[in-house]
Symmetry: C2
Subunit: 336 residues, 2 copies
């Protein structure tokens, strides 16, 4: 059977064929331009879906909680897309564990589409793939898109900049809390969740977090256009095992979405995310074009850097100046 | 007292004034160009110091182990710089906990310089600051520079690409191991360490890791110029509390450094790091220059992206084409 054309995939996508969504997500993961071309074909304009981010340190039980949340949202009549962001190996270039086999409950329901994304983070690759995945799930008609990140590094914080509402998940025990603060993820929380509420120490963790929020640990008030005026970050107890607190989490997210729309903060957040996505895409374009146009200069600059004869900033400025100098017929650049 | 000129700081730096190193590290952290200009002034050519990276999930005891390792290296007569990389808040732009107060033992010794770095990761900012910090510690004359990262996200994996030898630290318990594999950090290990060896499960963890390595969990052999031929990743047991295994860790790092030099793999790793640093710096330059030269086009592209009317890649290509079109006097760009 011949491979379908992009137009055929777009038609299948519009008709609600899940294989077309899966294919487009594979393109997004690989940084293949067809993901964005398909998006242009299926149209759709502004985002309609509620994009929810779920993040936190390893081992706090994010995956099971996302599973429960997806089911709760389905019960409210909404279709749900889940994007599980998995940092991949820097050498093999792919996920080590492959697509996950959990999320059985949510995935069995055809109203829920679960997909893991594994991609590199350098120059916003992870953010770009996740942004495309959110747009694809949205264009496919999902009412809610839940983005789950493994870990709490900088790339994950960047990914959380793409969503409307951020849920930070912690587990009982001060160690995790301190790690969360160090990683700067407490500050980006719109909703805080203490998962594994059946474990000892859950009450203490909730009290500590409320105290931290009172002391100003939440989103800083000044100069943050994405802040929702008057929004008090709720601290919820959940148990992904028993389902405790999951309905309250869904309620809190609905309230947050309404507050975002009513205050205009949602639009400010989307502008900020767009600015980051544009900067990342321009960075990738510029580096690819310069390497293509001036491969010898590039190699030479890399060698000088490795030998400690130049600084990255100085070498980059030279390359950029050569790119601009090409206007007046500079010889440093090979012809296209 | 008047602020010193850059030349005066460079003279103090060359004279071994620790305040000059501290000031230069502050510039590196802020992305201030003076860090790289000072490096150019103090010269130094290629790297001499052995750069060692220590990474692993939160809570495995990396900081105390780095402290112990610094002391062990000092006992071998080497001067040591420690760079503790701390992801910072995306909003406040600074470390929440500030410079750490631990590492008491190592920091009391004037042969050890400890510094935490807090900076944003987008577009390689974290890697750039860390790279500058390594070069500064090296130019200051440190024999070894230990880079410690908090967490195990993509930005941290990128940072580990800057060093010569990577130590991945785990703690007993399968949960941590699986997390390490998921984050792709096991693959970048040159030395594996099971810390908290006094805890139950340490022997089991060591056995599991050795088995994983036998099954091919280490650096893949194919197409990795930075691989040291014949290097078998040692799995060590350490206890930062008792000091057990720390000498063996220092021995393993010495052996790895010799193997890097003898095989040429060290040079290949430094070329790869230089290429990443150049790409990041060029990306930052390109984005800054385009925003400066075409602010209206930039704003318009952001708005269209936020409204879902364009894809990041398409908008970036338009901006890039306009930058090149300026050669023939295109009107899209405001004059400089």
């Amino acid at each position: 059977m011949a491979e379908r054309t992009l137009e055929e995939w777009a038609a299948a996508f519009r008709a609600g064929d899940r294989r077309a969504l899966a294919r487009a997500l594979t393109w997004a993961e690989a940084g293949d331009g067809r993901a964005q071309r398909l998006l242009a074909l299926v149209g759709g304009g502004g985002r309609r879906a509620h994009a929810v981010g779920v993040t936190g340190s390893p081992g706090v039980g994010k995956s099971s909680l996302v599973d429960r949340l997806a089911v709760a949202l389905r019960r409210r009549g909404r279709t749900v897309g889940v994007v599980a962001v998995d940092p991949s190996s820097p050498f093999s270039g792919g996920a080590i564990l492959g697509d996950r086999v959990r999320m059985a409950e949510a995935a069995l329901d055809s109203g829920v589409f679960v997909r893991s994304l594994a991609t590199r983070g350098r120059m916003g690759g992870l953010s770009a793939a996740t942004g495309d995945a959110i747009r694809l799930m949205d264009a496919f008609g999902k009412d809610a898109v839940v983005v789950e990140t493994v870990g709490a590094g900088q790339a994950e914080v960047d990914v959380m900049g793409l969503v409307d509402s951020v849920v930070v998940v912690l587990a009982p025990g001060l160690g995790d809390d301190v790690q969360a603060i160090k990683a700067g993820i407490l500050e980006i929380a719109d909703v805080l969740v203490v998962n594994k509420a059946d474990r000892p120490g859950a009450d203490l963790a909730v009290r500590e977090l409320r105290q931290m929020l009172l002391l100003g640990g939440g989103r800083p008030e000044e100069a943050d256009a994405g802040r929702v005026p008057g929004w008090e970050v709720p601290v919820l107890r959940t148990s992904a095992t028993t389902g405790e607190g999951v309905e309250e989490l869904a309620d809190a997210l609905d309230r947050h979405r309404q507050a975002l729309a009513a205050s205009g903060a949602g639009a400010a957040r989307r502008l900020r995310a767009a600015e980051g996505a544009l900067a990342d895409a321009l960075a990738r374009t510029a580096v690819a074009e310069v390497r293509r146009a001036a491969p010898t200069m590039w190699e030479e600059a890399v060698r000088r850097l490795a030998d400690g004869e130049a600084s990255p900033a100085a070498a980059a400025h030279e390359l950029w100046a050569a790119a601009r100098g090409a206007r007046s017929g500079g010889r440093a650049w090979t012809s296209p």
